[in-house]
């Protein structure tokens, strides 16, 4: 279980997260929703240990940072490194011994090509494969469905279900509501750095309706074309 208690984070005095309180149980898939800039990625980074913050995060399975698989929105790949070497690096980093990495190439990626020249979707799939190879206990996936084709999207949903079955904790964000609808047990709605509310499966429509209402307004598109 991960217990996030009163987490706050500011950048140059501007609050990005304020008093976030959340609990993530094993075997659950949690979705984080909110508009761009609502603090989702910052919260992910705080839980992963990539950002310093005020507040506490308790984890009953050891050092949380060493058991988190974090998928950034845009995974970064070093130049001159093949997909295969990226996977070796990720395994080495966690002390996981895998002699048969190619057997786990579930997305049929060209592992002997440079990862930096992969398409956006392929890079995301490579990063996900790496997280799975690391045998993580907690998965934090920031926009895992972005830029990925339909069949791979379905595969990722299957992976989420599989991880849930294995008792792993999964926290994801996505702007494609249908993907969250199918995969998540809980949805948490972040607005301007604050947790507005959390809802269990079966009542996600409320959040969707709220978010739709927020997005509607005068976009002032005509001002772009006026002199």
């Amino acid at each position: 279980m991960i217990k996030v208690d009163l987490i706050s984070k500011s950048y140059d005095g501007a609050p990005v997260l304020q008093d976030i309180h959340l609990t993530f149980q094993k075997g659950e898939v949690h979705g984080l929703v909110g508009r761009n800039g609502s603090g989702k990625t910052t919260l992910f980074k705080c839980i992963s240990g990539l950002e310093e913050f005020t507040g506490t995060i308790e984890y009953d399975g050891g050092i949380l940072k060493n058991q988190v698989g974090y998928l950034p929105t845009i995974p970064y790949f070093l130049s001159n490194m093949t997909g295969y070497e990226y996977l070796v690096l990720l395994c080495n980093a966690r002390g996981v011994s895998r002699k048969d990495i190619r057997l786990y190439n579930i997305f049929d990626l060209p592992l002997d090509k440079y990862a930096e020249i992969y398409s956006t979707g392929m890079q995301k799939k490579l990063a996900i494969t790496g997280l799975l190879l690391q045998k993580n206990e907690v998965f934090i996936l920031d926009e895992p469905f972005n830029g990925v084709d339909i069949s791979s999207n379905l595969m990722i949903q299957e992976i989420l279900t599989g991880l849930k079955g294995l008792g792993k904790t999964v926290i994801i964000s996505s702007h494609i509501f249908s993907t969250l609808h199918d995969s998540c047990d809980w949805l948490h709605y972040l607005k301007e750095g604050k947790l507005k509310y959390s809802l269990p499966k079966g009542s996600f429509e409320t959040i969707e309706a709220d978010m739709r209402m927020e997005g509607i307004g005068d976009t002032k598109i005509s001002s772009f074309y006026s002199r």
């Binding site: 058991q67 950034p72 490194m81 080495n92």
Partner: protein, 305 residues
């Protein structure tokens, strides 16, 4: 278009500020360093009138990068795009042309400028898909990627070693060994992205020790290709070959630690000076290395547990 160049100037000043130096002081120092290095180049390097302009033109190649030019093309009108590329190349090569002019290399100065203008029309530079096999894939990543970037230089060093042995020139062999360590050090020229540090389930101590261990092991493999022929050909000079090897390994440790002394920011100017001074006076390394090690540990504590 004017704003684009203003932006480039601001970026340069920001880069200097990130080094911990007042931007204007840095700019003046940079110009002074360029002039000094150019004079030194013409004094010490053979055929400088050919190598110097070649370096200037090589410096323009990244500006012709395909993705970069695609961005410029879709952002600016076509006529502005061509003007930008032309001006970029001319501005970058201008100091080199002026210096060639001062050195009375009028024709070469003119040809360098003309070549720079011509190069502004070649904007399809992209990396080849061909993957260079790396013998260092088992423990990515610095040597894995560095080897691929520098394999031609490494090959040149091995050829230089063969020439040194063939012509019985020990100094040339030692020079090759030093160059090899310089190339190995260049593998650590870019700061590790935070994600690539964070992924390690290791304490800062273990992480640094592993980095150093991998660096030493792989540089040993490479350096033996040069050192063994030197030991065999000049057994009586074995002591000096060993000294150069030892200094090379110590330099490599300094460079590895330098990545993390101010992590995630690049090392500051004072840290750089500290490292350069210690490299110029190797006995100082015995004091500087532990100091750098503890500074690096402090910075890594944020990301590793």
């Amino acid at each position: 278009m004017k704003y684009y160049f203003e932006l480039q100037c601001r970026r340069v000043l920001r880069m200097i500020r990130d080094l911990g130096v007042n931007p204007w002081v840095g700019l003046v120092s940079g110009i002074a360093l360029f002039i000094f290095m150019s004079f030194l180049f013409f004094k010490k390097i053979p055929y400088p009138q050919y190598i110097y302009p070649s370096l200037a033109l090589l410096y323009l190649v990244p500006l012709g990068n395909n993705s970069r030019n695609e961005f410029l093309k879709i952002t600016f009108l076509e006529k502005h795009y061509f003007m930008i590329r032309l001006l970029e190349n001319v501005i970058c090569v201008f100091p080199f042309c002026i210096f060639l002019f001062i050195q009375k290399q009028y024709l070469i100065s003119f040809l360098t400028g003309a070549a720079a203008i011509l190069l502004s029309f070649f904007n399809k530079v992209s990396r080849p898909d061909f993957v260079v096999p790396s013998p260092f894939s088992a423990r990515p990543y610095e040597f894995t990627t560095g080897f691929r970037r520098s394999y031609i230089l490494l090959l040149a060093i091995f050829i230089l070693t063969a020439i040194a042995v063939y012509y019985r020139n020990f100094n040339l062999g030692i020079f090759a060994l030093l160059m090899l360590f310089l190339i190995c050090c260049s593998f650590y020229s870019v700061n590790d992205p935070i994600f690539y540090v964070w992924i390690h389930a290791q304490s800062p101590e273990k992480f640094l020790q592993n980095k150093i261990k991998t660096g030493l092991l792989y540089s040993l493999w490479l350096s033996l290709i040069v050192a063994i022929p030197l030991f065999i050909t000049w057994p009586v000079m074995g002591f000096w070959t060993s000294v150069v090897l030892l200094i090379g390994f110590l330099y490599l440790i300094v460079v590895i630690l330098s990545v993390f002394v101010n992590y995630p920011a690049p090392s500051t100017l004072s840290q750089k000076i500290q490292m350069i001074v210690s490299m110029l006076c190797p006995p100082l390394l015995l004091f500087v290395i532990p100091n750098l090690y503890y500074q690096a540990l402090r910075r890594l504590n944020v990301y590793l547990k």
